[in-house]
């Protein structure tokens, strides 16, 4: 299945990209996706435990099983306002 991954702020700087369409195995969850991305972008290991998963515009536990077409991102600590 295919998911859309967005990168913002420090994630965007580290990966050098804002958006990625990725083919992942069925039943991939947030933890598994994190591993897949760390293989593609080894520097992402620095951000382990820092970012929170968001799926389709909502914060979601890392154990969330992703579905085809999901829009996924990792949210570094926010500093708006």
């Amino acid at each position: 299945m295919k998911i859309k991954i967005l990168f913002f702020a420090i994630y965007k700087e580290i990966t050098g990209t804002a958006k990625l369409e990725l083919e992942v195995p069925e039943k991939t969850d947030g933890l598994k996706l994190q591993e897949i991305l760390e293989q593609k972008f080894p520097d992402l290991i620095k951000l382990r435990g820092v970012g929170k998963l968001a799926v389709n515009l909502d914060y979601s536990p890392m154990e969330t099983v992703l579905e085809d077409g999901d829009e996924v991102t990792f949210i570094a600590p926010v500093s708006g306002g």
Binding site: P77, G80, G81
Partner: protein, 141 residues
């Protein structure tokens, strides 16, 4: 309810007019402003980046929750993104209510929630470099 994420300069007066109501006796307004230092280090300017679709959704959720929790008439919120200079406003929150307590409390609630939940990130530029500001780590359900 008025919610907007914009790269244009924020217009406080326009937002005040949006929340006016014949039954409102009080309006509280909060402006977040770029200040010239962060923990003593001199800030030259800064950039706000955001995940716009999710920020819009989270702002709507926050404002809806605020309407439920407080006896207010109208709420308007704008957050600016992009490059900002010292003294420029990054966020403006305007709340009208019949009685003053609700405006103050609702306005405070909105800014606290924004700082916890809305995916916006601040990058500060110093004389000798730049850094992403570490803010709140959002709760995950």
């Amino acid at each position: 309810m008025h919610i907007k994420i914009t790269s244009e300069k924020l217009d406080t007066q326009k937002l005040i007019e949006m929340v006016e109501d014949d039954g409102a006796g009080a309006i509280d307004i909060f402006l977040g402003v770029v200040r010239n230092n962060m923990k003593g280090k001199k800030v030259i300017s800064l950039d706000y980046h955001c995940y716009e679709a999710m920020s819009q959704k989270k702002l709507e959720e926050i404002v809806n929750e605020t309407y439920k929790k407080f006896d207010v008439k109208n709420i308007a919120v704008e957050h600016r993104i992009g490059h900002l200079q010292i003294r420029e406003a990054s966020v403006v929150i305007v709340v009208s209510s019949a009685h003053r307590g609700a405006s103050f409390e609702a306005c405070r609630f909105v800014i606290e929630e924004i700082k916890k939940k809305v995916p916006i990130w601040k990058k500060e530029y110093f004389e000798d470099g730049e850094t992403w500001v570490e803010g709140y780590s959002p709760d995950v359900p």
